[in-house]
Symmetry: C2
Subunit: 317 residues, 2 copies
């Protein structure tokens, strides 16, 4: 995508995407390259009178920038690496965007609930992940916003578990982390529960995670420092003796991408602002035992936050 | 992944992938970073006595190389950008690898055939794509090697069509481009056919594409120049008057990745070598009418090539 200061933006692509580009990129001048992107830019930039060209440093590969530099030098264009330009424009959501994200969250929950009630021992992690993704598409989602995680028992100790053919046993932990794209906007939710009769330890630990989530949620408001929000939740888990088993950050922004700014982690000293949307997803992961994670999404408001989730599976303690 | 000249290779990752890394990366020393990759490298490189550090220029983002440079300067390590180092090691397949790829191809065909015979008017592109991907996982594939393409009628005029809710009508073109990963190795196949009674034009054009595929296949042997193979197939399509409607290259390498070297395109002057595996996938795309693509995979041999596919749907003219 090439956006000159004046005039229509350009979409540069190749033959394979010609029809799709015409259909989807309304308002753009679509130009196809036959001899590669850099050859086309070399022709196009002088006609557009471009003297300085910014590019997204965190999307361009190092080797591609090499080619970009060669081309730019050739036609005496100054190259300017940019970091987070578009991300900064996206970090605050408008009320319209918040509505779209809420819709995405609610559809995601509806799908979770419809599959959740069919779960029985004997199913595999892959069976359930496929059922969830198939239901997403049937119920109108554009696609999953990331590869659906379904993890049983000790597999749930991997925060980014990949579904396997492991068969669900009665009384085992089930961790489901799922999201979808609707109207271009992402959702992301995690629930952890037991099919059958859970052991006492499960409730004990679930309660710790839920308390941590509530503490994190309570700490969110415009002006709060990201790492302080992480710390508010982390403290509950540390105080319960599980500090070493919650190794990831508390949450991340969600919008057009399922992971975007801001990060709710222990190294982020930036302040939250009203209109940001973040996940709140503390967890405890014990290799020999399993894992528990609970994840909701919330909008940052001036005086607090508004949780977008309505599903209460595992939250109602 | 960090590979010192001597001693065990290292896998550097974070908490979220700790268990998976231990399970999957046998023979590696797994080290987790808490304060980011660059902070860990800064500590680790001096203890390993690294003075020159190569990195994959076509996998590292421009912004990440910035951080890598800062770190390297700090500990006086020389940075060396590398291009295609691993790819060059992968381009020639061993006989063992060829067997694994053949297995992947045959499983892919089996899945295609089992879904192909269930196709009826009224199904949507998404229905069929989901059925294919679900069957892949049920029949033991690790995952699809790319997002399955199912395109009806005019949608088939997009070489990289995305499945939609379009409903299949009797007599309409169906283009299916699908692949899977089995034992780590990819397959990739395209078939185009009609459910119901095809129009005459369809067979006419299908025959052109198949003839182009045969011409390309015949041109493949060790020592043949990649662009000449592309040209051999392209000439058939151009001679039939469809030269402007075959805008992509004839094929690409396949192995651990579904797209790898060598590229069979009009700008590649390199020679094929025995043991390479390539796709041969000519196509004709007419926006108002639809598209046809046929894709097989073949191993380059000293005196010709060995087509890995056995399925004959649309090839038996």
């Amino acid at each position: 995508m090439l956006i000159p200061k004046k005039g229509k933006p350009w979409l540069l692509t190749d033959f394979r995407f010609a029809l799709q580009a015409e259909e989807e990129a309304q308002g753009f001048t679509v130009e196809l390259y036959k001899k590669g992107l850099y050859a086309l830019l070399k022709k196009l930039l002088p006609t557009l009178n471009v003297r300085r060209l910014g590019f997204e440093s965190h999307y361009f590969l190092h080797s591609s920038v090499g080619k970009l530099e060669e081309m730019a030098e050739n036609i005496k264009v100054e190259l300017v690496p940019l970091l987070g330009l578009v991300e900064r424009m996206r970090v605050l959501k408008t009320e319209e965007e918040i509505k779209l994200i809420k819709k995405s969250v609610l559809l995601n929950e509806q799908i979770f609930q419809s599959v959740h009630k069919t779960l029985t021992p004997g199913m595999t992690e892959i069976d359930i992940a496929l059922a969830l993704e198939q239901t997403m598409r049937k119920m109108g989602a554009e696609e999953p916003s990331f590869e659906t995680i379904v993890a049983f028992g000790t597999n749930a100790a991997k925060p980014h578990a990949v579904p396997t053919n492991r068969v669900l046993k009665n009384g085992e932990i089930v961790l489901i982390d799922m999201g979808l794209v609707l109207g271009g906007y992402c959702s992301d939710m995690t629930r952890t529960f037991v099919v059958g009769k859970p052991k006492k330890k499960f409730f004990q630990r679930l309660r710790v995670v839920r308390k941590a989530q509530l503490a994190g949620t309570k700490a969110i408001r415009a002006g709060a420092i990201c790492r302080d929000v992480d710390q508010a939740a982390r403290k509950v888990i540390t105080d319960a003796g599980y500090g070493d088993f919650f190794g990831h950050s508390l949450g991340h922004g969600v919008g057009l991408a399922v992971h975007e700014a801001p990060g709710l982690g222990s190294r982020n000293r930036k302040k939250l602002r009203a209109g940001m949307i973040v996940t709140i997803e503390p967890g405890i992961y014990l290799p020999e035992w399993g894992g528990i994670r609970l994840e909701n999404m919330a909008v940052v408001r001036e005086d607090g936050c508004e949780v977008l989730n309505e599903d209460t599976t595992g939250l109602d303690l």
